[in-house]
């Protein structure tokens, strides 16, 4: 993988193989997914989602560095900005729920059933 472009990559970056970064990012991503699926607290679920987004950032930067292509790093800025906007709306929704129910446990999400 990426053998054709290796010459352009600085030696410092090449000291760690790209596979390690991919494994690390995937591991973080899976931890995030497991967190979303198992936790009951809305804030913790939300943190897990942020972990997923940050693992994506890591992956993008890795590919970007190993390809000497800036597009991936530009994408990271977009992800950070959008994630910040999403946090603002998400926390507002969680606060709204806390005001009405005095809890942020997702177990209360049972009003809508058929």
């Amino acid at each position: 993988m990426f053998s054709e472009a290796t010459a352009a990559i600085p030696d410092v970056i090449q000291q760690v193989k790209i596979q390690h970064y991919i494994f690390l990012a995937t591991a973080l991503f899976v931890i995030g997914i497991v967190g979303v699926l198992t936790r009951r607290n809305a804030i913790v679920i939300f943190m897990s989602v942020e972990l997923m987004l940050n693992s994506v950032n890591l992956l993008l930067i890795t590919f970007s560095a190993y390809r000497s292509d800036p597009a991936g790093q530009v994408f990271v800025f977009f992800i950070m900005a959008v994630a910040a906007a999403e946090v603002a709306v998400g926390l507002a929704i969680i606060v709204m729920i806390y005001r009405n129910t005095r809890t942020i446990d997702v177990g209360f999400l049972n009003k809508l059933k058929f």
Partner: protein, 460 residues
Amino acid sequence: MLPIVLLSVFGIVVLFLGFSKSKNILLPATLLFLLVTLIANFVDWNHQYLYFNDMLWGNNASMVFSGIVLLSAFFVVALTRGFEQEGEAAQPAEYYGIMLFSLVGAIMMISYENLIILFVGVEILSVSIYILTGSDKRNLRSNEAALKYFLMGAFATGIMLFGMALMYGATGSFVISDISEIIGTRAWNEQSQLLYAGLLMLLVGLLFKVSAAPFHFWTPDVYDGAPTIFTAYMSTIVKTAGFAALYRLLAGSLASLQDYWFATLATITVLTLLAGNVTAVYQTSFKRMLAYSSISHAGYLLIALTSLTAKSQSSILFYSLAYSLSTVSAFGVLILVSQQQASNNYDAFNGLAKKNPFLAFVLAVSMLSLAGIPLTAGFMGKLFVFTDAAQKGTIWLLVVAILASAIGIYYYFRVLIAAYFKEGDLATIRIAPFYKVVLIIVTTLTIVLGLFPDLVLQLV
């Protein structure tokens, strides 16, 4: 480019208009802004354009898709009379502003050339809709719907982003046409493994947004819990934009891999058709039934996407238009009836035809169109979609789809039976003149498009 700039500016203008004392100006202003944008949307007609450093791409088809989104937004906004009666808690300026901003996201999803724009567009649309879903702040059902939609939506965004990152790793580019070129140099079974993983995750993320099974579980709850007017908004606009984005991705950059993704997408199509139609039968609430019906219509649209013939784009386009029109009028009637009866159930419609023959007729046309009965737009839409599947030669998919639409007739006709044949004490519902005009236009369009589908098809 022009509609995106205009909508952003108009959104801010609407927010400022909210400061003025008279709230009555907001609705006409928003409608005027939407009309101006709708006209400005077509200035590039017959030109293929690339804007913003080649990140945004468009041609006639993408302009018509944007036109459908803007038109459905226009109708839904026209039906939003009643914000101002909700007392102190209602903030019409914010809602109108957010609706305009969300359309920016929808148009970006329709005409992206770079995956960054797809991501930003999906997020602009979704974040706006999270807010609109939770806009009934004191209502626990609305709260719950907003939180569910938000957590699930953010989760799906994460998966979609991981897919984009993997595709970037495999191809080295975010640009649709470049990806297509790089993929095209190799056979479908010689690609990097990263590409397959990335493609699947990207598809999962987008299919989640259009509520295809097995990623549909949030849809009924969110559609049921959100205020009805915003349910109408999201079921029309998110679906149209989402399918335009999926089509652009699959046809624009991944068409050469069809052998690879066909099996996956066909399975999802069958699951969506079955899950949507079979579960809809068991609903007692009309609003919840419409949520399941939106899942089943995602299934029909997926048939055109899975087949991916030369005509798929125009089928998806026509089907989304037909679906949007019928959905808007169905929700329009539901809003009036549920205000009167304080209930969304089928029983609320009992005896509707006796004193409200106009509303019953609008409801009938919309249900016939959703069920796909001839002389309505929905029938022509289904016909085009099924023709695509027949051209591709997937007869088994066609059989499932036809069985599914036979089930569909049962639950769409339940509300008509309630409206026409059951005894009820529904009093005459007062309809504001403007509201009535919108319902008349939408119903007429549904019938006219059913008789002369070429009016739209010849555009693309």
